[in-house]
Symmetry: C2
Subunit: 332 residues, 2 copies
């Protein structure tokens, strides 16, 4: 069973998931799968994954058989496991929790596509519907205090399989950095009556220098203090606290907006490896008025290294104003 | 001029150092230096670096000429620059500071060695003396509130040059994670009368399961909640708050202990890329009784990815008890 552990000196909470060391490595590492070897995420190979928990399928198709557009399965090598109750342990200075949680994989195409930019628009819409469906379902469970939807695209971004996919983790605790951000947003709201993200969206639209693109509903910008070169955020222009509150209309508009952004990134930076994460109001928190969801897109070009691990700060050689210009100019 | 910037939503402080994007890339990246091309860190090529600020040299040798054992120079592509006074700026939601600080490179051998494990013992001692000398010198300047000595070894650990070297950064602010750790240590001291690190050293020596090695003065252990697989910490057994307080005897003993550890790592994990960082009491802080310095050695085998960037937590597939066993068994 995996385990949450807190370091008594630094206070950091980490997950020890020893079962994950058994993952085969398709991408690069020592046990690289040969090219053409079976991909567990391709249609026809459903038996290679645990049974699906959700799928968008043709009406007459059967679970765990072909006929799906997007398929969600438990991670075969989960960082957290969903059995038992959450139990705290303390042994001398050492605090731990059993590794209770959920770890799912969203398989984003039945075909062996490796870049989201190559997918048809209806496929992109289906992917975002899957994110919303699973975040809603897990958010209904009172045990999960935080949901993290993330994508690792490319070897440098930590992907071990190349077939397009994302992952969703449900945690029984709110991570410290998310709690800190919620506190900041609440303080700002209490003192000004406004959501800080709404104000920043407005300010960045007016100034334009860090703006990448905008549509009726969404904006893409390079944030003022990005951790990574060419880091960009997508936010809804109107105040919405949680991604899973998105309407069907929002989802369709976001699919188009996100795909446009990925194509810009591919053009501007020659198909870089990247991570993205959805930052959304944690379930069961009354932060609706002051939290504003966003997608953070984090290209992995330079590497976090000694300075970052030692200081917890980030050093970034690309000013966001220049990054935004490059991404703006990379429009089709 | 580089700049510190604080993100108004997340509260994170980052460094924008656009000048660093001009770095040539010896290791791997697009403008890779051809093999055999001039290495700016080799003896004879002193003119390729900024003038030295410190060196251990033969008596009759001249500055910025051969004859040195360890040489310290300003980083040619610094993340921070040492001119002017620290000035805060606020523009709407956006807080920044000019990028005041120091960024030095410690060149750890006159020869083109690429692994610390291959260096002679007197060379290792000279390196640690250089760390101490520069940390003492910068710590005497009241503008520097935090010193971070770190090594990036190997491409996966973010090194751009392969010649053995480390870096030292002096910051005008204490990073949030260091401030949090100081607070935890102070609270523990106030409530128990003991330094938490001293207690952990004693506990780990008794238990043994996470112990890698020990000498009269030092201990190497895998911490209870490591961020990375095979992460290990070296601590002095007796209470010492800051690395730069180390005596000549401590330095000689540490050189031997650290080299032994690097050789274990090389044997156990086939010469992995790694970072190390020295966590030391910040200058001008009266934390002498409760802060205890350490070296954190962070092998870069798996990668931090979407989960880590999104949650600020770490997922580690290698339990420290197993890691310690492997490193213990890798003794010569």
């Amino acid at each position: 069973m995996p385990e949450f552990r807190r370091d008594p000196i630094t206070g950091r909470l980490i997950i020890i998931a020893a079962g994950r060391s058994k993952r085969p490595r398709q991408h690069g590492a020592r046990n690289a799968q040969a090219h053409g070897e079976l991909c567990p995420f391709c249609a026809g190979n459903e038996a290679m994954t645990p049974p699906e928990v959700w799928a968008l399928r043709e009406n007459d198709s059967h679970g765990d058989k072909p006929g799906w557009t997007v398929r969600v399965v438990p991670n075969k090598y989960p960082a957290l496991e969903n059995h038992g109750a959450l139990t705290a342990k303390k042994d001398a200075f050492y605090e731990s929790l059993n590794g209770l949680g959920v770890h799912e994989v969203i398989i984003e195409s039945p075909d062996h596509e490796i870049n989201m930019g190559a997918l048809r628009m209806d496929q992109c819409t289906a992917i975002l519907r899957a994110y919303r469906a699973r975040m809603r379902a897990l958010g209904d469970d009172s045990r999960w205090r935080y949901l993290l939807l993330y994508k690792n695209h490319g070897k440098r971004a930590g992907a071990t399989l190349e077939h397009v996919h994302s992952q969703l983790i449900a945690l029984p605790v709110v991570p410290q950095s998310a709690a800190d951000e919620l506190n900041r947003a609440e303080k700002h709201y209490d003192s000004t009556g406004h959501c800080i993200s709404c104000e920043i969206v407005q300010c960045e639209v007016e100034r334009g220098e860090r703006l990448v693109s905008q549509s009726e509903k969404f904006i893409a910008l390079c944030p003022f203090a990005p951790r990574f070169g060419y880091e960009a955020w997508i936010l809804p222009k109107n105040h919405v606290a949680a991604f899973e509150q998105s309407t069907d209309e929002d989802i369709t508009a976001l699919a188009q907006f996100l795909k446009d952004f990925i194509l810009r990134l591919n053009r501007a930076l020659d198909q870089p490896a990247f991570n993205y994460v959805i930052c959304s109001k944690p379930p069961h928190q009354s932060a609706t008025r002051y939290y504003h969801w966003r997608i953070e897109i984090l290209p992995q070009i330079a590497r976090a290294a000694g300075f970052e691990w030692g200081s917890g700060m980030y050093m970034n050689a690309v000013a966001p104003e220049g990054a935004a210009r490059l991404l703006r100019d990379a429009a089709l």
